[in-house]
């Protein structure tokens, strides 16, 4: 028999466990060192670097069209949007005006990519909370978007479809019909998401009031994207620093002020509706014309610094290029949204139960290759 005092001292002790690097709910190779007191989390220390590939350093030896395919591999669920950031940075540096058709296609593709990303997030968030049905329903609808991508870009996940100056190839003739069919279908299906998961009592109990972060804290931690907007921080780059055609379309910036996991959830559901609205405004008006501006065979940026930010599915994605006038960048820095979103996980999860840590991690929608780069 163990004496009561020994049991007491064990219960009082803080102990440390490793969540990951091989854990299904960390959505990749992320290692969280969690200090626990019983079931209560007292500290979370993220350890990074398990999937570090040195993309920023690799870019220094590549020409600008070649770097595009590396930006796919950061946040692989918003590949189009990452490509867009790099292409815009290069185009702005060269002061190239891309054709209207390119702008239309890029905006539509970006929004489709955002919907696909949020669908996958919805699947995995449901699964983190133990709702397996969501996973199949979300992936079923995502398949329609991936088919659209495959038909026009040739691949489903890592498209490398944009290139400085325009697009790799023109869209498929059936693109518009396929997109319209999808929007019609998804408008019918999206309310099912609410019925299935949003209104569910288990989901509500596990996310409401869990993982709170105030607006001030969110700003100081560099929260962007749906995570920041769940705390009432109006940070939509599409609205405040418009690029492509976002200044011409009418859409709402989805804002919630609660700052908990449920608010972040609702922002993403709301963004899917807004993305559909943007696509509907553009899909019928794609102008005829070239799918690429005339570019030189070897792209050399003038000496100087260039920065371009875009709204990726998880937040603000930025590309900083320092050029010395050559055909490769002297330095390329990428500002990835997931890195700053992850930095607050200690604040979010502290004093909650370890099961809530999974829900909080899911509500941040982390993609690990974007954190490590």
């Amino acid at each position: 028999m163990i004496e009561d005092t020994v049991i007491g001292s064990i219960e009082q002790q803080e102990y440390t466990i490793n969540m990951g690097p091989q854990h299904p709910s960390t959505h990749g190779v992320l290692r969280l060192v969690v200090s626990l007191k019983g079931e209560i989390v007292t500290q979370v220390k993220p350890h990074l670097g398990y999937i570090h590939r040195g993309i920023e350093k690799m870019s220094e030896s590549m020409t600008y069209p070649q770097i595009v395919h590396l930006t796919d591999r950061l946040d692989y669920l918003s590949a189009h949007i990452n490509n867009h950031a790099l292409c815009l940075a290069v185009e702005n540096a060269l002061q190239v005006e891309v054709p209207e058709r390119v702008k239309y296609i890029r905006t539509i593709m970006d929004e489709l990519n955002r919907i696909a990303s949020h669908q996958l997030w919805w699947c995995s968030f449901g699964m983190d909370l133990g709702a397996l049905t969501c996973f199949f329903y979300g992936l079923r609808d995502r398949e329609y978007i991936l088919d659209i991508f495959e038909e026009s870009c040739g691949s489903r996940l890592l498209h490398s479809y944009y290139t400085p100056g325009g697009l790799m190839k023109d869209i498929h003739p059936g693109f518009q019909k396929r997109v319209k069919d999808f929007i019609k279908y998804f408008r019918k299906v999206l309310p099912e998401y609410d019925q299935l998961l949003t209104g569910n009592v288990i989901m509500q109990e596990r996310t409401r009031g869990i993982g709170n972060i105030t607006k001030e804290e969110a700003i100081s931690y560099g929260f962007t994207g749906p995570s920041g907007r769940g705390s009432g921080f109006a940070c939509d780059v599409r609205k405040h620093h418009p690029y492509a055609l976002y200044d011409k379309v009418d859409f709402q910036e989805v804002l919630y002020h609660e700052g908990d996991s449920l608010a972040r959830y609702q922002v993403r559901i709301g963004e899917m509706w807004e993305s559909m609205k943007i696509i509907e405004q553009l899909i019928d008006n794609i102008p005829e014309g070239d799918y690429s501006a005339k570019m030189k065979a070897v792209i050399k940026l003038p000496e100087g610094e260039y920065y371009q930010r875009v709204e990726a599915a998880r937040g603000e994605f930025g590309v900083y290029i320092l050029s010395d006038g050559g055909k490769t960048p002297y330095r390329l820095k990428l500002r990835s949204p997931n890195f700053s979103n992850l930095s607050a996980i200690d604040l979010l999860a502290r004093n909650f139960k370890i099961a809530d840590l999974i829900a909080i991690g899911g509500s941040l929608d982390l993609v690990i290759p974007d954190i490590d780069r």
Partner: protein
Amino acid sequence: MNVIGYIKGIIKGIISLIKGMMVTGHYFVHPGKIVTQQYPENRKKLEMFTAFKGEVTMPHNEANEHKCTGCGICEMNCPNGSIEVITKTEVNEEGKKKRAIDKHIYHLDMCTFCELCIKTCPSNALAWGQEFEHAVFDRSKLTKVLNKPGSKLMKGVE
């Protein structure tokens, strides 16, 4: 009051569960469009999209002729060295020395499908193939020679 709140919570919970079950139940009785593809079984009928990026190929015509002049632009543009162009010098009918490809080597295991080789090729010698079942037991099988043995440069391509 607390008891009433407790009972209300239970009823609300049950209603929310039933709502969710109605969605899944609806699909259970209305199978509708089958979204699952029975992959290995439908292999013969499976058609990929024309733009699908399976692997880089070099199309040859009936006379075993290709369009590759061996300029090496694809090799230069490839971001990860998946392409090696080995050239040789040939003497044509007029007695002039001319560059031609000996081997156009493509490392499928290194390729990231960025499409730069196909886009930048000045004579459109490369194209996407639709093959996607690339799993092999030996890695060396993924190194392919794209030009067929005995093939020649198509007439009129410079």
